[in-house]
């Protein structure tokens, strides 16, 4: 084991473990449930997973993007399904990063000593609203709203083609896409599972309809409905509740200004890169590629996913693409990426960012089923994305005493 360097990480008041994880299936046809019912399905799954009852929960944390379903303060109605009656409750919403933010918030709430067992609910029912309208409404109402069209842009594809050459860049992003689909096919909960094969690469690269520039339909994430629920507990309670708690070591959130000033003559540091270097520095992680056994990244498209690998691991040049070409991000590679299939296959926006730490926790526990990694998973990394290119980054551990 490498010699540990001094860590400047904040001193956590007390440790927090993930003791329960529940998910619904993700699809675009959940007409048979209303929002409260869908949430209730998620919490029952999480409680069952933890072996707990509602009476064991001290506090509920709830979040989604309310303008998608156009329900004002939905946590009030959802009391019917959340089990929050009589309990403290918090609702925090930050757009695409919401799911991850909710886990950070629950971590803060438990670590603070204010609550011992906290249930976190992230969900979305996109078919009940207008998703593109919802996203476009995040833009300034007097100016940018007229320009924005949902979350589609090909600027990353353009830059990568310019940096690495058209053929290599397009092949890499398609290889990434197919890899994600193969993982999704091992995940029975994943929304879209196409059964793509690598020999379709050339064909898809050139025939999948272009949405914007080289961002093609095949590269883009889905719009899914579903709910993810996690239960967090203090160290003392976590050890009573389960023999495999997954510890939240640290988390960081990095936002950027309202104007998306990242497409100019000079490009500022991405929030992904900033979050990674600050998080690793304060935790004395000098070699993230070696340290982490799995990374669940919030990848809204295969172009972004590929580009952000370089950011999150503080790589340079074409290292991330070479690693892809060498299979280093594969399930049996050096740093397995999105064994769940990632966001391109499943994207219930309010829950999507929560699925990332949830899937990492399942890997650490050895409970990921068909998409379980074969090697032991001790150190996990999970990211959330949203807003004007914001990042939430979280470290999870199998054992205490890091």
């Amino acid at each position: 084991m490498a010699k540990k360097q001094a860590s400047h990480a904040h001193k956590k008041n007390r440790n927090v473990g993930i003791v329960g994880i529940g998910q619904t299936e993700y699809s675009s046809h959940k007409e048979y449930q209303n929002q409260a019912e869908m949430i209730n399905e998620g919490i029952r799954a999480a409680l069952a997973d933890a072996g707990l009852k509602l009476s064991d929960i001290d506090c509920v944390v709830h979040g989604n993007m309310e303008l998608f379903e156009m329900v004002h303060q939905p946590d009030m109605w959802h009391e019917l399904g959340t089990g929050a009656f009589g309990k403290p409750q918090f609702r925090i919403t930050t757009g695409g990063t919401t799911g991850a933010t909710l886990v950070c918030a629950a971590d803060n709430l438990v670590a603070s000593g204010m609550y011992d067992v906290v249930m976190v609910i992230g969900f979305e029912k996109l078919q009940e609203g207008h998703t593109t309208g919802g996203i476009t409404n995040m833009a300034d109402p007097l100016w940018f709203r007229h320009l924005q069209t949902g979350a589609l842009t090909a600027t990353t594809a353009t830059r990568m083609i310019s940096e690495f050459g058209e053929e290599r860049a397009k092949k890499a992003s398609m290889r990434y896409r197919i890899m994600m689909d193969k993982h999704a096919c091992l995940n029975p909960r994943a929304h879209r599972r196409f059964g793509l094969e690598y020999d379709q690469m050339e064909d898809l690269m050139n025939t999948s309809p272009m949405l914007v520039g080289e961002l093609r339909l095949i590269h883009m994430c889905s719009q899914s409905d579903g709910c993810c629920v996690m239960i967090l507990a203090s160290e003392e309670r976590a050890k009573q509740i389960t023999n495999k708690p997954v510890w939240i070591r640290d988390h960081i959130t990095v936002h950027r200004e309202e104007n998306i000033n990242i497409f100019g003559l000079k490009i500022p540091e991405t929030t992904h890169h900033c979050a990674a270097r600050k998080l690793y520095a304060r935790n004395a992680i000098t070699d993230p590629i070696t340290y982490f056994n799995v990374f669940e990244m919030y990848d809204p498209s295969s172009w972004w996913g590929l580009d952000w690998l370089r950011e999150f691991f503080l790589l340079k040049g074409d290292e991330h693409i070479t690693m892809l070409e060498n299979g280093d991000w594969d399930m049996d590679g050096r740093v397995p990426l999105n064994p769940s299939g990632g966001v391109i296959s499943t994207n219930p926006i309010g829950a999507t960012a929560m699925l990332r730490p949830a899937e990492v926790a399942l890997q650490i526990r050895g409970d990921a089923g068909q998409h379980q990694l074969r090697h032991e998973v001790r150190h996990g990394l999970a990211s959330g994305f949203g807003g004007t290119f914001w990042t939430v980054l979280m470290m999870l551990e199998k054992e205490l005493g890091w």
């Binding site: 207008h130 320009l147 842009t153 196409f194 914007v212 309202e258 998306i260 000033n261 990242i262 100019g264």
Partner: protein
């Protein structure tokens, strides 16, 4: 002929005239080609112009606005809703060449949904299953069905000793023979044609024991089209509601100056007193320095292009539902007098879409009518 989910590829095209919704295609002028290869497939063109429809099966496809390419099973399955069209699309099982928005925006409004075509043969062949032996005590009948026209045929049904058997062909010793066009037979059995009108109007001819003919109806359960049974269980009541709350947004001091500038054909930004970056549009504060920025400066009007986005799929405007004409190009640019990180995004003049490249200089094109609003600045064009 090959059937998929109980329907044929050609059914979809043959039913288009009946399913056509002229009120949904005002202003549409499009030729959609279909290239369905596989058993039962073929090529068709669907032309919609001046709110009229022309459908033709062709050997070779002519020039089309867009061509849909698929295999018969995927094509029929997605038309019936048995296969998720969006997933098939994403997986490359339905492909397009040409202007995809013609399909995405026109087709849903041009036709009512395809429902499986009910064929006379399917109805006749389901009769033994629908037979109610308890009603047929003492009944001894031989019924001939002579159905003419496309999808027609001849069958003989024997009801005897509480059983019902069916065979192809018309026996000569039928108790009663029913003769009609196949589509009339289908209409009668699906409730679309009134029996009194059909019999009275001479569309149905009965030979032999007319009274026996009258008793056959109660011997069989009602015919349900394939899938109709499932639909009953799955019936969704869907309420669509668009909550609208009118808003009055404040520009505030800084965006107010921005719009005032546009009216005067000026591009106005604010310069940070600390880091000197120029924010366009202007902002009350510099996010990096966290200080007030009240130093208004004029930049441009020309700018240097940094990145270009060519948009093929335009999301509908959430307020109006309108879709922009695609493809269109947007560019990220830095103004003369601006600062390198601070980019501005705006559409490019459609005529320059094919020529525009990073590094080029562009200039604004102003609306002749300006009132200090978003539409004052039309787009940017190449400055040459």
């Amino acid at each position: 002929m090959a059937e998929y989910f109980g329907s044929k590829v050609e059914d979809i095209f043959n039913t288009m005239p009946a399913r056509f919704l002229p009120q949904g295609v005002a202003g549409v002028d499009v030729v959609i080609g279909y290239d369905i290869s596989g058993e039962g497939g073929g090529r068709w063109t669907v032309t919609i112009r001046d709110a009229t429809l022309a459908v033709a099966a062709v050997a070779e496809l002519p020039k089309c606005s867009v061509v849909l390419i698929s295999d018969p099973e995927t094509f029929v399955g997605s038309a019936l809703g048995k296969i998720d069209a969006a997933e098939a699309f994403g997986a490359g099982k339905i492909k397009f060449t040409g202007d995809i928005t013609a399909v995405l925006n026109v087709l849903p409004k041009a036709f009512s949904p395809f429902k499986p075509v009910v064929r006379a043969g399917a109805i006749i062949e389901s009769m033994p299953e629908r037979f109610k032996p308890e009603k047929a005590e003492g009944v001894n009948l031989k019924i001939g069905y002579d159905l003419s026209g496309a999808d027609g045929g001849a069958w003989t049904m024997l009801i005897k000793d509480g059983t019902c058997t069916l065979k192809n062909g018309l026996d000569s010793d039928c108790t009663v023979t029913m003769r009609m066009a196949a589509d009339v037979f289908v209409g009668l059995n699906t409730g679309k044609i009134d029996p009194a009108a059909a019999f009275g109007g001479g569309q149905v001819k009965i030979e032999g024991d007319i009274m026996a003919a009258g008793t056959t109806a109660k011997l069989f359960g009602k015919f349900e089209a394939a899938g109709a049974q499932e639909k009953k269980g799955e019936e969704l009541i869907s309420l669509k509601c668009i909550p609208t709350i009118n808003q009055r947004f404040a520009t505030g001091t800084h965006m107010g100056k921005w719009f005032a500038g546009l009216k005067d054909k000026r591009i106005v930004g604010t310069r940070c007193p600390q880091c000197h970056r120029v924010l366009v549009p202007p902002s009350e504060v510099c996010a990096i320095c966290r200080v007030r920025t009240d130093d208004f400066v004029e930049v441009g009007p020309k700018a240097t292009v940094c990145l270009i986005d060519t948009v093929y799929y335009a999301s509908p405007d959430p307020l109006s539902g309108q879709v922009r004409h695609t493809p269109y190009a947007g560019a990220y640019m830095v103004f003369d007098g601006g600062t390198p990180y601070e980019s501005f995004a705006m559409e490019i003049n459609p005529k320059d879409m094919d020529r525009i490249k990073p590094g080029m200089k562009v200039r604004p094109v102003w609306n002749t009518e300006r009132s200090g609003t978003f539409t004052d600045l039309l787009y940017f064009e190449i400055d040459d």
